[in-house]
Assembly symmetry: C2
Homo-oligomer: 130 residues x 2
């Protein structure tokens, strides 16, 4: 930990170009497996992906278990701590959509967030938690 600043604390977890993309894949893309993360369009290298999954798991943001149907696979999912990053992601999406056209954001996302932010977050969360 570099300081007792909460922003600095958060950046120690996901202050890099890849960690939040893995979390994005878990939250919005329904991905759970190494190979799925690897196939994302940004093109993460396998060694970086491996190190990020380890770090996120060590941080308590994700957890993993051997996939019962195929034991060479590991299944990753968000913990409560990871799910609580959804609001951060939502604000980042809203910011990006406001300042850059042509991004992959639903037309009504901004107005939905503005109108009932809590509901938007709850819809995302409940799809993951069940």
């Amino acid at each position: 930990m570099r300081s007792d600043c909460p922003i600095s604390y958060a950046l120690d977890f996901f202050g890099d170009k890849w960690s939040l993309l893995v979390i994005r894949d878990l939250v919005f893309e329904g991905k759970s497996f190494f190979k799925e993360f690897q196939q994302s369009k940004e093109g993460i290298a396998t060694n970086i992906l491996s190190s990020r999954l380890k770090k996120l798991e060590a941080s308590g943001i994700i957890e993993s278990r051997v996939y019962p149907q195929l034991k060479t696979k590991k299944e990753y999912k968000l913990t409560a701590k990871g799910l609580d990053l959804i609001p951060v992601l939502v604000e980042m999406i809203a910011w990006s959509a406001k300042y850059q056209e042509g991004l992959a954001v639903h037309d009504d996302f901004l107005s939905k967030v503005e109108h009932d932010r809590e509901a938007v977050i709850e819809v995302i969360r409940s799809r993951l938690v069940g």
Copy 2:
């Protein structure tokens, strides 16, 4: 730009260990000058600080002008685009405070954010704009 994903877009601006700390200093610490950013407790190197200020300015998140009282100084401030990152910062602070005790967060910050998030953001923003 690595993809049309809004998260990836945002990370292209501040997906590193330092950019958001500069923005934090502008938003919460009332800092405006190179030397002030440099003196933050995380200890940013001068070459990194210089490159981050340039990048943030090129991105339209901050702007600078020569400080009239002393022309060797440059004064940095947030643009509208930069001010709109306040909600992202607020969510990051809330997340960190929830999961790590002992951080420099006001006792009632979490309850204030939960109770009237918009008002918290507006107070922070108006201190900078007004």
